[in-house]
Symmetry: C2
Subunit: 489 residues, 2 copies
């Protein structure tokens, strides 16, 4: 790993940066740097030494070369909406922000491809092609503010990834800047290229292999018809069973989400959807899309399955406004929970679909044991849980306890044959749990791959891979020692 | 790269092999080695020094360790059906054949996963799960003889990969033996694992990163209804336009194949399907699958599109026997061409779908210019061409000329924004064309990744990556010089 120099000559670094990037886009004043101290995971904060906002691949490469010359680590940041601290800066690092690289470079409807710069916002891609009858499928909840560069780094998912796949399934090619400042093209214009699948390695590498500066995305045909069904159940097992039965019936919905009673009441308190029954133990939202007859037939089957499993009431809509109303509560769930509790901690874990009932029971038991209320809102179709642990950060020591409860949930996921992240990434937050999932040889193999791209380990160091003290309080204490200007949230 | 020792003590190697693998499965008699001189690409032949057939992961690891100790390169071979010479041995190498590792280790219908050894034949997987209503989607033409290990190495496709994706989209996890004999687990039980996507790199690496000894495959639900349509056209452009229009209409068929007039007549001459009209310039086969109403609606749309584009006649069937009859000619196309011409050379290239009409025209021009008849049978839905170049190998110099024509086709594909292999891999055959597709930095990046797994470059050396003299005659002359016992086909 690169030895961070004790007395870095930052003035020289800034001068070099200003020689290759518009000085207006080189930020070094402390009060301006504040904005960049953390991403969506606000419990870790760290002020970078310099922030640069390049506009082109060449500027990114030049900035990385300046870092290389001065032996400084760098961290990439897109829109900064990530939830695992993937864009958390280091004190002695340069933060390279791609937010100004906002150009859609090419739209090729005929071959269903779009080429974008990394700062392009996720849903701009859909906006650019929807007139032609296409959309960009991966749709994280943050899709109106998160950027494609960040999506690539974290291999983002969304409610539609059940049917359409996650980011890696929609990236055909990338122009990347490697940690020594080289510009390399990986992948190609068609889905399966010979040689090693380098885009496969790059997507989801969380900024540790370099920066993407151009991304060729696959777009898909907008379905003729979309129907949303909302079924309410008196037990969460019945909702989970319906999910299994729907998949077993050969139906792959666009999305399939479950919310528990607590979350239902939270959203009704805060956004009043007026369609989520407050007395339901769970609701199941199913979005079906495709040809009109296909959706009609699937919808009939889904209704029958839900009723067989004891659904009390099933609402359904194809009209865009009505569909939006059914989705409204789910989309607002996190915000609603945030309104009724001073703070919440969102976990992201995955279990095989068949283990959903078991894990929900165990999470409930954990909630009672720990005394923390846990709300469950999740992508049921692919077993991706998002338990929200409610707590009050003003009470000293609470965050640490809650992080521990979150960790317990992850360990349960792994024990059930699942994994520790469905779509938020590992980042700074979860690297201590990687050994739950991978043995030393597995992790070492990954590090060897990392060293191919980043032998000095200067690209987003201290992310993904565990180091002796990387969890919760221990990590923060360590950071405090190493980087005394770290502020606790 | 490992220095192959001039005077290898093969007796010692064999002794060591026999200590770790049942001596009945260590082959060293010249006449027995003959079988292993080539794979499906029969124009290159090379006898290995020793062949071993391990039965377990531990035996594979032990065999690889013997190679490592003696500094000998090794080549992995599955069923030996590959068409790019990926399993071509080297003279001074050990060939590790996984054909005896034929166990299906676990079937988990609930979570749609099957764990198999690499010697399991592709369609055994479907057979093992079809009773439960599932199938394994990647279906190369050789599916009744090719093995999953080889499919993983070559990232095999098939007619159904248009809708369902290729092998890499169906591999969740792998147990691999790396070139130093370590056993490493990559991937996991659920589709998206954190960390780098090592299965993504391994699948399609053509044996250059080690051997897979256990493969966790994703299976998918058998569709309720399958309908096959056969439309005949008086121009190949009209057939191609129909393909584009079908995709544009939001329909993703299970498969979509085009055959030209020459191929149609070849199959009628040889297998008499009695449903392929001999006077059609092209036929389009479309397989639709899904729920009954969905297939009915899509089928109506496809028929309308084909008629709009001038289809004269459209046959259609859902009954399994009748469907088989419509597919029969396509499935027998290669064999039929082989019957009417002394020899044929099958090429494998890809163009963006929109470029199909152009490239077919250019291939026709090339055929006229070169004087070789070229038959076209191809996966139209994903732009994957399989031109068959007819020639007579008994005429000296013909193979070399035909390889050149094949190379011209690949260059045309690249020029149109396509690639040099859709599903057969690069192997020994096409590595000289890699620089058409990738620049030096791109190839170097791949080699760095290779060195992570195989720093001595002992795993299937001289495949995928170009060396100064790697094409056709030049390669053979070189081999002749280096390995004088090479026989020309």
């Amino acid at each position: 790993m690169v030895a961070v120099q004790e007395k870095q000559d930052w003035q020289a670094v800034i001068q070099d940066m200003e020689a290759v990037i518009d000085p207006n886009n080189v930020i070094r004043r402390k009060e301006e740097l504040l904005v960049y101290e953390c991403d969506g995971l606000t419990s870790y904060k760290q002020r970078p030494a310099v922030v640069v906002l390049p506009r082109t691949t060449e500027e990114v490469a030049a900035a990385v070369k300046v870092c290389d010359r001065h032996n400084i680590p760098f961290v990439a940041r897109g829109a900064g909406t990530g939830l695992s601290g993937g864009a958390l800066p280091l004190e002695n690092s340069v933060l390279i922000v791609t937010a100004m690289m906002k150009q859609i470079l090419d739209v090729d409807l005929e071959n269903q491809r779009v080429v974008v710069q990394p700062g392009v916002i996720n849903n701009w891609v859909t906006q650019a092609v929807s007139g032609g009858g296409f959309f960009y499928a991966p749709d994280p909840s943050s899709q109106i503010i998160c950027s494609i560069g960040g999506n690539v780094a974290e291999n983002s998912g969304g409610v539609h990834c059940l049917k359409y796949g996650v980011t890696t399934n929609h990236v055909l090619a990338l122009k990347i800047v490697t940690p020594d400042g080289s510009i390399v093209d990986i992948g190609g214009p068609v889905p399966e290229m010979p040689g090693y699948d380098l885009p496969g390695i790059f997507v989801g590498s969380e900024g540790t292999l370099g920066l993407a500066t151009e991304v060729t995305l696959r777009i898909v045909k907008t379905p003729d018809v979309i129907r949303v069904l909302l079924a309410d159940f008196t037990s969460i097992e019945a909702a989970g069973q319906s999910v299994s039965d729907i998949i077993s019936a050969g139906i792959i919905p666009g999305g399939m989400e479950i919310m528990d009673n607590f979350s239902i009441n939270a959203v009704e308190d805060v956004v009043s959807t007026n369609c989520y029954p407050r007395d339901a133990t769970a609701i199941l939202l199913v979005e079906l899309d495709g040809l009109e007859v296909e959706v009609a037939a699937a919808s009939e089957k889904v209704e029958a399955i839900c009723r067989k499993n004891g659904a009390r009431q099933i609402q359904s809509a194809t009209d865009p406004q009505e569909r939006l109303a059914l989705w409204k509560g789910r989309k607002a769930a996190f915000a609603a929970v945030g309104k009724i509790s001073p703070d919440y901690y969102v976990q992201d874990g995955v279990v095989p679909r068949s283990k959903l009932p078991e894990i929900l029971e165990e999470i409930e038991a954990l909630s009672q044991r720990s005394g923390y209320r846990i709300a469950n809102v999740f992508h049921a179709g692919d077993g991706n849980l998002h338990p929200l642990i409610l707590y009050n950060n003003a009470v000293p020591g609470e965050l640490e306890k809650v992080e521990e409860v979150g960790g317990e949930i992850l360990k349960l996921c792994v024990k059930k044959g699942g994994t520790i992240s469905g779509e938020h990434g590992i980042g700074a937050d979860k690297r201590c749990y990687m050994p739950e999932l991978f043995n030393e040889t597995d992790l070492e193999t990954m590090l060897w791959v990392r060293d191919v791209f980043d032998p000095k380990r200067v690209a987003n160091p201290d992310k993904i891979f565990p180091t002796p003290k990387t969890c919760g309080e221990a990590a923060r204490a360590q950071a405090q020692k190493e980087f005394p200007n770290t502020e606790r949230f």
